[in-house]
């Protein structure tokens, strides 16, 4: 046992003066800002995906969700270098020995536990979020959305507790020069290869490179430099595809000559062929597909207004709409289009994109496109509209 204790490094074995509260507090400040941004934009995204909206989700600006979700994912990428350097700067603390005094011991244990939760939750959020943005699901049972949402509360709670515990240290560190040594561990005196300012600038540079390397999936201007963007913005009609007709299992039904769209309100129901839909008054709206995985792309969609379709069965305004797809299974087989979207003039049942008939992979014969809405809910291959 003693041999093991001797082999484990001690806090005082770490001598670099870069591992200092002056550095940790400055990176921690930005990490706290970034975690707050991801938390708030995450709440928006989670709410937008709820089937019921006690407070209607706004339909304007139409690019709102595009911005919040692009910001959510991009800020998450920027957190990777920030978190890594932050953890590096406080790494000696991992080896702090517990105090002998019993009363201090309880407090020490509580703080260590809160730090453990903070680090575990922070790493979990970044890893699961970045995997999800790349549509990679290396876990087997838990659902991404529910778990990422729940752990977000754990992470932000642990951040707030951490700030409360460290507030005097943070205040002193941020109030003094970056080279101030008054709060340093006694052993942290060896000059680093970099200066403290140099390390901070390196961290900001890394976060900046992380943003530039990924943000092109939602910011068209950056497309060429974003070498790790999840797509290049190419696809039929200039928009990438998340789920193809083949993987949704709808290739046969979507191209069938007997396809009809059913629109119903109570007892009243009409069936429309694709030709019938083309015969209705057509609108063209420029609206983005804003994927929950962060990428987005704007397109010119053409088709009848959903409102006009519902007028065919005499549905009053202010009602939610159940949109059902030709897909036979899967979580996005159907979605609720809330009344705010249904009543919006810009909400279309799109038949075409960019002047061409809708590609099969974009939802042919028809798909829903509404302003300011997560892409995953913009149901493709629509077979039924049912007023609720």
């Amino acid at each position: 046992m003693k041999a093991v204790a001797r082999a484990v490094p001690r806090e005082e074995h770490f001598t670099s003066r870069l591992r200092s509260p002056a550095v940790a507090a400055r990176i921690g400040l930005w990490l706290g800002i970034c975690f707050t941004i991801t938390f708030l934009t995450g709440l928006i995204s989670h709410y937008a995906q709820n089937p019921t909206h006690p407070i209607p989700f706004p339909t304007s600006p139409p690019w709102g969700y595009r911005v919040t979700q692009g910001l959510h994912v991009t800020t998450g990428y920027a957190c990777v270098p920030l978190l890594l350097v932050k953890l590096w700067s406080v790494f000696p603390k991992l080896f702090a020995r517990p105090p002998r005094d019993r009363s201090e011991l309880a407090l020490h244990a509580a703080e260590r536990a809160s730090i453990g939760v903070l680090v575990a939750a922070a790493i979990f959020q970044l890893v699961s979020g970045i995997a999800n943005a790349a549509q990679w699901y290396p876990w087997s049972t838990f659902s991404f959305r529910g778990t990422h949402y729940a752990v977000a509360w754990v992470a932000i709670g642990a951040v707030v507790v951490h700030i409360a515990v460290k507030l005097p240290v943070i205040r002193a560190a941020l109030g003094a020069d970056v080279d101030d040594t008054s709060q340093d561990r006694p052993s942290a005196t060896r000059p680093g290869v970099l200066t403290r300012r140099g390390l901070l600038r390196t961290t900001w540079l890394s976060a900046g490179v992380a943003v530039l390397a990924t943000a092109g999936a939602s910011v068209p201007l950056l497309r060429r430099v974003s070498v790790f963007g999840v797509n290049s913005g190419e696809g039929p009609g200039g928009i990438p595809i998340n789920k193809t007709a083949r993987s949704a299992g709808v290739t046969t039904t979507a191209t069938s000559a007997s396809y009809t769209l059913s629109v119903s309100y109570g007892e009243r129901e009409v069936s429309l062929t694709r030709a019938d839909l083309e015969g209705l008054a057509q609108q063209t709206e420029t609206l983005p597909i804003s994927c929950v995985e962060g990428w987005s792309e704007s397109g010119d969609w053409t088709g009848p207004r959903v409102r006009d379709l519902l007028a065919l069965v005499g549905a009053p305004p202010g009602r939610d709409l159940l949109v059902v797809s030709l897909q036979e299974a899967g979580p996005f087989r159907s979605a609720t289009l809330q009344a705010g979207y249904v009543d919006d003039d810009r909400t279309l049942l799109a038949l075409g994109l960019d002047g061409e008939p809708l590609a099969l992979d974009h939802g042919y014969p028809c798909r829903v496109i509404a302003p300011n809405r997560p892409g995953v809910l913009q149901t493709k291959w629509v077979s039924r509209l049912e007023v609720l």
Partner: protein, 147 residues
């Protein structure tokens, strides 16, 4: 002190709410898997990544001339952290064979370009530092804290 206690209470409530969401909306097998992922993240960082950085530091001091060390650290932090966040696209783990519109970049080529830019920057900075150090030999590199 009172404001810190209030802040701590707010954070605790938020964290407990998250734990409640985890427990109430998921099945026991999900809890186990989430717990495993929690632990794996910490273990990989604390016992793999962080010690690797310590080793990298020792190796760097032995191998690299003084003028190249600071640029090398900058390059390692930039390239290392950005490579880490690109692992899912570099590995192509989310690629669906019938969908050519996603993950449609050559990510390895992109990584090579990024690595080339970083390496060029490191080399240029190292050479600039060496020529500066040889013109002012009385100042050993890195020995001036607070610069």
């Amino acid at each position: 002190m009172r404001s810190r206690l209030a802040l701590g209470a707010v954070g605790t409530v938020a964290g407990v709410y998250g734990a409640f969401l985890l427990l109430s909306r998921q099945q026991p097998e999900d809890w186990v898997e989430v717990a495993i992922w929690f632990a794996v993240g910490v273990v990989v960082h604390d016992f793999v990544l962080a010690p690797l950085m310590l080793v990298a530091g020792v190796v760097m001091v032995r191998v690299l001339p003084a003028a190249a060390r600071a640029p090398a650290v900058v390059g390692l932090v930039v390239l290392g952290s950005v490579t880490l966040l690109a692992v899912p696209v570099l590995g192509g783990f989310g690629v669906v064979p019938d969908n050519p519109t996603l993950f449609d970049r050559s990510y390895l080529a992109g990584w090579a370009v990024l690595a080339g830019v970083v390496l060029a920057g490191v080399l240029a900075a190292a050479l600039a530092r060496r020529s500066r150090a040889s013109s002012t030999t009385e100042e050993p590199d890195g020995a001036r804290p607070g610069r």
